[in-house]
Amino acid sequence: MRQPAEAVSAPTEPAPLLEVEDLRKSFPRGGGLLGRRGTAVRAVDGVSFTIRAGETLGIVGESGSGKSTTGRLLLRLLEPDSGRLHFDGRDLLAESRSAFRHRRRDLQMIFQDPYASLDPTKTIGTSVGEPLRIFDKLARRERDNRVRELLGLVGLRPDHLSRYPSEMSGGQRQRVAIARALSVAPRLLVADEAVSALDVSTQSDVLNLMRRLQRELDLTYLFISHNLSVVRHMSDRIAVMYLGRIVEIGPADQVHLEPRHPYTRALLSAIPVPDPLVQRTRPRIVLTGDVPDPAHPPQGCNFVTRCPHAAPVCHEVDPVLEPDGGGYAVACHMSGVTRERQR
């Protein structure tokens, strides 16, 4: 499932900051009894996209869609099986894993669970200051001063420096994680479900903070989440993933308001609208069945087992992500047909 790189970036833009081409990663599924070799799960199965400097690309998908694996592959927390990764014109995969360590100045990540992403035995100052110690070899005093600045930047008090993670709330911890990621002045920030573990009221604070930092520090985001509402709020463009592939990618409003892939439409329809009168009267698409086992994807289109529009061709031919030339692409045989029907 190869796709030309220019297909998914807007046509008039300069060279993108990050280019991902045909990225693939399989995990061996644990062998059964008697050490039989298990089948491989194709977690990321030919994913291509680009991110321009300063924009936010949102990746939305459910469990098993490969969205988190994609994020980890970009930072080489996992090694891709194949594919190309170009950051600012440089080939990220050409470097050895240890040489890549220094590239981590440019690429940082925020994790889902702020309760687990900070070492419980270290103070906030030590955690946030660690990258400064490693990359900039700053002495203790300079480090602490810089950490205080960073804490201020993310809306925490300087005296939080001497706290331990266990004494802070989830939202505060996520701010600490953001401060740590920003300490090395990265250019691309991968946020993997960065607000999913937070309460609604705290979640909006962290989202606002991330948007403010993006403006002030000229950051580029890859914002990964299962929550389409959050992704839509944060992103310029959205990629929808299903079973290891991008099924639809395009400008956020377009994906959100006029989705062309039946999966995106079902996803949107499944998000409850926070108004009882509307929620109970609006037409809904309820998908039958769960996401298929990624180790045994169906033949033809990955979505065919749950698709309300499946035609015979969908059972046989795997659809490719077809760009429409306007920065929009969808992988569905029936997208033209269903669009007509929708009107």
């Binding site: 927390l77 981590r104 940082q108 990540m109 669970d113 687990a116 070492d119 035995t121």
Partner: protein
């Protein structure tokens, strides 16, 4: 800059997880009693020459087999007329140092190999684990006896052997804990902020496996102390006239008809020290359990 969490009540006491843990351990009176007793033993060991009323090796051949509370000899005298109290005090040095040798060896081997096996995984883990299994198949005392048979009697050699034989126990604990910690997100986060593997293991993994390690170390101390006592009792550990509790017990055993009370002091000391280490190990384990439970 807006500070968003203004209404949060200021908490002045920043408590590190280690402080919280220590507080939990000390809350139990049993743990406290064990720590106090072990502290006393250490004080006795350090200040033995100052505390001892007599030269522990000085023989008073005119006052042999004196029962306790005979004049200046509070705990009586042994077969050579040496003051039991003074000997018991000096013996506590051996009883503290000898287990430390074993535990030191076991910690060095167990922790380094355990971290390596748990963190690196793969064939490193397989090889180290099989090696640990092999060593574990040899009983500690048998290995100590073998070492003594080759190198001749001597406390240091014997305790090194006990340490080597006990290392697999620590290895397993550290490896298991490391496997769990390795999956934590903060290890992944450490990689992202540029930590090398060595730094990740030393700075982020090791401090997070120390609680289970502490439990095993405490239990190992009691085991090593018993091993020293056993070897010295058999005459293979400390060599006369240097005293150790095990060696004193040997004397008491030989003289059981002439001085039956001789068994009491070293026997009680060994029992209480071993019990303290064991109870403390259990207490620490309970404290860890509560730590997990209330999170």
């Amino acid at each position: 800059m807006t500070v968003v969490d203004a209404p949060e009540p200021a908490s002045a006491r920043a408590r590190s997880p280690m402080q919280v843990f220590t507080r939990r351990v000390l809350r139990s009176k049993v743990n406290l009693a064990c720590l106090v007793f072990l502290g006393l033993v250490v004080v006795c060991a350090v200040f033995a020459p100052l505390l001892a009323p007599f030269d522990p090796n000085l023989q008073h051949l005119d006052s042999r087999y004196l029962p306790p509370f005979s004049g200046p000899y509070v705990f009586g005298t042994d077969d050579l007329g040496r003051d039991v109290l003074s000997r018991a005090l000096l013996a506590s040095r051996v009883s503290v140092v000898a287990p430390l040798i074993s535990v030191g060896v076991a910690l060095t081997l167990g922790v380094s190999f355990g971290l390596a096996a748990g963190y690196v995984g793969g064939w490193v883990d397989s090889v180290l684990s099989r090696l640990a299994d092999a060593v574990n198949a040899i009983p500690a005392l048998v290995l100590a006896l073998a070492v003594i048979a080759v190198l001749g009697p001597g406390l240091v050699n014997a305790m090194l052997a006990v340490g080597l034989a006990s290392a697999p126990r620590l290895f397993r604990v550290v490896r298991g804990a490391t496997l769990a910690v390795r999956e934590e997100t903060y290890i992944e986060a450490a990689t992202v902020v540029g930590c090398s593997s060595l730094r990740t293991v030393a700075v982020h993994v090791l401090p997070n496996v120390r609680s289970p390690l502490l439990v095993q170390t405490s239990l190992l101390m009691s085991f090593a102390l018993l091993a020293e006592a056993s070897l010295s009792f058999l005459g293979l550990g400390i060599q006369p006239p240097e005293p150790s509790w095990g060696a004193m017990l040997r004397t008491a055993f030989e003289q059981q008809f002439l001085g039956p009370w001789l068994v009491v002091v070293p026997g009680l000391l060994i029992m209480c020290t071993v019990l303290s280490f064991n109870l403390l190990g259990d207490g620490i384990r309970d404290a860890i359990g509560r730590e997990r439970g209330t999170r």
